[in-house]
């Protein structure tokens, strides 16, 4: 029996069109637009101004606190603008525009392909390096990695989990990374283990990637304490809480963190970025992005410099069609729809998904037939139909007591509802209202 989480979950069509497509380095764009905030946490302080010359890897915005992350230039050239520019959220955010000239990297970045396995830095030095290099969670959450690695006093970490589940349909970036950079990932994992002072790490991979499972299992024999765990294909297997439950059978308490059950979870892409940061002194300024969709001519996995326009990626994959109706940044279950495609790729962009017109519209909303499907698919044991009802009627007390804040926004409920009810839309609304209420309550 394959391991999995015990309640709920759905199995959407996988549609992994870009699986097995070699990582392709996208040609350098003419210019990049680098948002100064690409992480969860405090905003950064921009260090460059119009006219400045920058090199690849040079810091251009400094972390504005502990929970924040440095931003580095992904290209060499001249800063042409520092201004508020649209990003993928649809809002204007402080950004740095750089006109590309050549490809000149900072000298201290090791650009060789040689695998460097020996870890010379100490625990503290590793965390400091990760913080300097602007590493954030690459699974989409973009939480600054050094914060996750700085364990508060009194908490004990026993296990590191590497999230290589990639449970979102369509996306293949992590899969391809594992096929091409297995050793780097394993060294990155070892670095993380050293930083956390643990001697056991699990890499969880969904069983629809048997090649990655066998490849990594084979390679992991050369590394101490790393175990590859094959997991059942069941969405949202890659949810942090679901992954911990599946691999270790521990349940993160409601409102708690993985740390409360002695775990730290890191994305597999992050492990690779950590390898590059610590062993190669390379800041996080490029990442792998899947560009795919049913109507896409050339589904691809691109290595992309941060700040490249989404348009450029779409063009490289064959461009938009007459019948393209929606472009999503991220996966189909949790990604964000873009209102415009000239927005930059950021540290958190795992995929660009193009939907056809007919896939872009939701079905008509029908009355709830009380079929209980939403309840049985909810991996958090919530009652989505009820949360929607009480959220709609603005009964926020009930929204809170029915534990809306536990919702991980996986979308399984809306996905499955035969009446096409916008369950998660209303749950989100309820959650944000409840969060506001709790905040004002705490201020009193």
């Amino acid at each position: 029996m394959l391991k999995t989480f015990p309640v709920g979950g759905v199995h959407p069509s996988e549609n992994k069109f870009s699986a097995g497509k070699k990582i392709e380095t996208l040609p350098l764009p003419k210019s990049v637009t680098i948002p100064a905030g690409q992480h969860i946490g405090a905003p950064t302080q921009i260090l460059v101004k119009k006219g400045d010359a920058v090199k690849v890897g040079q810091i251009i915005a400094k972390a504005g606190g502990f929970v924040s992350a440095n931003i580095h230039s992904s290209v060499s050239g001249k800063v042409s603008k520092v201004d508020d520019i649209f990003d993928s959220s649809g809002y204007r955010r402080p950004s740095v525009v750089i006109e590309v000239e050549g490809d000149e990297w900072l000298e201290d970045i090791d650009r060789s392909e040689n695998l460097k396995t020996e870890i010379t830095l100490s625990k503290e030095e590793i965390i400091k390096k990760i913080s300097e290099m602007g590493i954030v969670g690459l699974g989409g959450a973009t939480f600054p990695t050094h914060v996750k690695l700085s364990i508060p006093d009194g908490k004990k970490v026993g296990n590191l989990l590497i999230n290589a589940v990639e449970c979102e349909p369509y996306l293949t970036a992590d899969h391809q990374l594992m096929m091409e950079k297995a050793d780097e990932i394993l060294v990155g994992t070892t670095i993380l283990m050293k930083a956390l002072n643990v001697n056991k790490a699990y890499i969880g991979i969904e069983n629809n990637k048997p090649d990655a499972i066998s490849h990594l299992s084979e390679k992991s024999k050369n590394y101490k304490g790393i175990e590859v765990v094959a997991l059942k294909v069941q969405y949202p297997q890659g949810g942090e809480k679901q992954l911990i439950k599946a691999v270790l059978n521990r349940e993160v308490p409601s409102g708690g963190l993985p740390l409360d059950v002695g775990c730290v979870v890191q994305n597999v892409g992050t492990a690779f970025a950590i390898y590059e940061a610590v062993q190669k002194n390379k800041p996080l300024f490029e990442r792998i992005v899947t560009v795919t969709g049913k109507s896409v001519n050339k589904p691809s996995n691109f290595l992309v410099r941060i700040g490249t326009s989404t348009d450029t990626l779409i063009e490289a994959a064959g461009g938009l069609h007459e019948n393209s109706g929606k472009v999503v940044s991220g996966g189909p279950m949790m990604g964000k729809a873009l209102s415009r495609t000239d927005v930059p790729i950021t540290k958190g962009s795992s995929g660009v998904l193009i939907f056809k017109e007919e896939e872009s519209k939701r079905d008509e909303i029908k009355p709830c037939i009380r079929c209980a499907k939403c309840v049985s698919v909810c991996p958090m044991g919530l009652e989505p139909y009820l949360l929607m009802t009480v959220s709609k009627s603005q009964n926020y007390e009930r929204v809170e007591s029915e534990r809306a804040l536990d919702c991980i926004e996986c979308g399984s409920c809306s996905y499955t509802c035969p009446s096409s009810r916008p369950l998660l839309d209303y749950i989100r609304l309820g959650k944000s209202e409840v969060t506001k209420i709790i905040r004002s309550r705490n201020q009193k």
Binding site: V7, S13, G90, P169, K241, K245, E251, P253, S254, G256, D311, S324, G325, K326, V327, V328, G330, P332, M333, M334, G335, K336, A337, S339, R340, T341, F355, E359, S360, K361, R362, D363, K366, P367, I369, R370, C371, A372, V375, S376, C378, M380, G381, L382, E383, L386, D406, E409, G411, S412, S414, Y415, T416, P418, S419, S420, P422, L424, D425, R428
Partner: protein
């Protein structure tokens, strides 16, 4: 950028489930039981079923269009289900006018007056049936004898159902083992060679439909298993305590509406609880009430009453029985 893109919140994909698919799935599942009914009771059964379905769809359309003045929803298939289920619970020799009254109560009162599909607390087909049972007790409890493939128009002979036969007999002080000799063999009852309502006689045909619905994930196993399990266990205990006074588990499972109720009526999604735990409680309640009514009550059959009574408890069950929350902090 020229192209206008749609923007919406995640998720951006949908399972393709729809109300129609669910409803037509149930209809497909009911076909085997319906065919056995046609085989056993001939043209009469066809007549009752056809009239029930046409009347259910017709009344729903007319009431929604002219009385409520809303867009009729008859295409969703739920009225067809109500019509079929209603017919399944009728003896095949029922006069048309009684059928029409029953359907009017089902659709007009039990379904639409509560706000239509999804809003009704009680199973509409059962409300119609129980209404008729109280209003026309004689016609509702006179079942024709099984007469396979009888497609002539001659009025069929009537006979008591195994449940009624045993209940009457025990009341008159007959010996249970003698009575057991008078009812069809368990193989016949399993296949559906016995008197009864159109859709309730064949356990195997009903189970086939149930398996189909489980496979299509239209129902879950919780309600049928807990309901039939409860009936079986209580019947077996009573039988063990006094084999002369109480029939065994096989008798109670195969006779009357136990199978039909467990698979098609108690599982009605609108009128059953939302959580698996709640479904188990609901099924247990129906099983318990069914046996109590059958063994100690005035009526020989209790499934319909039991389901309706438990329907009334569904809101309470939903309020107090919650799914196991992930990460529940133990107090």
């Amino acid at each position: 950028m020229s192209k206008l893109l749609s923007v919406s919140l995640s998720p951006h994909v949908h399972s393709g489930n729809s109300v129609k698919k669910e409803m037509y799935g149930v209809i497909i599942a009911m076909i085997p039981a319906m065919l056995v009914g046609f085989y056993a009771f001939g043209l009469d059964a066809v007549r009752v079923t056809a009239i029930s379905v046409i009347a259910a769809v017709g009344f729903e359309y007319l009431i929604q269009k002219f009385l409520l003045k809303i867009e009729p929803t008859v295409t969703d298939g739920s009225a067809i289900i109500t019509g079929m289920l209603f017919a399944f619970n009728m003896p095949s020799n029922l006069p048309i006018w009684i059928i029409l009254i029953g359907i009017l109560v089902s659709i007009g009162v039990a379904k639409l007056s509560f706000g239509g599909l999804g809003q009704n607390p009680f199973n509409p087909a059962l409300v119609g049936r129980v209404f008729l049972l109280i209003s026309f007790p004689v016609q509702m409890t006179t079942w024709p004898k099984v007469n396979p493939m009888n497609f002539s128009m001659v009025d069929a002979e009537t006979a008591a159902t195994p449940l009624a036969l045993v209940k009457e007999g025990l009341k008159n002080g007959d010996n249970l083992s003698d009575l057991m000799g008078k009812i069809p063999s368990f193989t016949d009852m399993f296949l559906g060679i016995m008197g009864g309502s159109i859709g309730e006689i064949s356990a195997i045909a009903i189970l086939l439909g149930g398996i189909y619905m489980l496979w299509k994930k239209i129902i879950s196993w919780h309600i049928p298993v807990s309901m039939l399990g409860t009936i079986a266990i209580i019947a077996a205990i009573l039988h063990y305590v006094n084999p002369q006074a109480y029939a065994g588990a096989d008798f109670h499972l195969l006779t009357g509406g136990a199978m039909l109720g467990a698979v098609f009526m108690a599982t009605d999604m609108v009128t059953s609880p939302m959580t698996h735990k709640g479904m188990l409680i609901f099924g247990f309640g129906i099983g318990l009430l069914t046996i109590l009514i059958r063994v100690f009550g005035a009526y020989p059959e209790g499934v319909s009453f039991a389901i309706l009574i438990m329907n009334a408890f569904v809101p309470i069950i939903n309020t107090y029985v919650k799914p196991k929350r992930f990460g529940e902090v133990k107090k």
